[in-house]
Amino acid sequence: MSDAPPPGTPPPGQSPAGASPADGGAAGPPARPPAAVRRRRNLVAAALIGVLTMLLGFALAVQVRNSDEAQMLAGAREEDLVRILDELASREERLRAQLAEQRAALRELGGSGSRTGTALEDARGRAEALGILNGTLPAQGPGLTLAIDDPSGEVRVSDVIDVIQELRGAGAETMQVDDVRIGLSTAVTGTAGNLRVDGTPLRSPYEFVVLGDPQGMETAMNIPGGVVQRIERRGGTVRIAQSPGLVVDALRPLDRPQYASPGPGG
């Protein structure tokens, strides 16, 4: 507690290293104030000294703690630091490039994801419909089988074409005759008793497998004066059987348009 009793006559300049004025306390008061004032001043000085040294201790501890954390880097040599910095910079660059790449990919996917999804679904459905209509895909569903017995060889090309047209008119979606798929460009050729469908000879009985509304198609076939009656007049017989589950599995190659190409406004 008796920290600051200044001696009466300080010997200035006598200390070995006391050349600088900031040395701390190398001064003495020449005139003595009254005792009460001195006492109060001592108290204030003691408090100030306490506060200052406490601050110093606090800062010291904090700084020591703080530099503990950064010691690894602080203790490294300059070359090491430069190398570490270089590595970090190049790593950052790489990561940035990666980030930009991923961002672009994300944007692309986000923008086109839903669009391509629905477009793909749409296109797939359309391709299936066209494939069934065109005969490039096997099909199944309700329909009817229609067998034409032609023992005397009197059924003509036009009769077969009529059967096909009537069936189409009554809602047939796809059909096959004796394992030949009927498509858009199917041709029935030959002479009576020696019919050909797309070049493949038909053999009696001519067996149609048709997918479509069974009831509607059977009604259309049996219409008075219709194709069935005409065939029966020629000496043939027609057997029609409805079925809830038929398979049309004969395929025909896709007709590739040679001259036509998609036009504008499509």
Binding site: A22, I49, G57
Partner: protein
Amino acid sequence: MIPILGLAAGVLLGLVFDPTVPLWLQPYLPIAVVAALDAVFGGFRARLDGIFDAKVFVISFVSNVVVAGLIVFLGDQLGVGAQLSTAVVVVLGIRIFGNAAAIRRHVFRA
């Protein structure tokens, strides 16, 4: 007695609270600590010399810290902060060594 108590209390407080040094203070804190240490060593030596004055100690303490901080700040502004802080540390270290030598002579008579 008071300085030792204050120092111990400050160290304890610092260890207990363990505050994070704000970024703007980080370059100055070590310099300030060294400058304050210099003032404390100077005060201790003056005490042993019998010429200690509380007023001088307080003023030298504060001005040491402020001047050291200002020098480093100026160096930072000039772009030579690291070098100037090294210079400040070297100078203060020499002074601390000198004061420590004087204290040693007082304490060990050698």
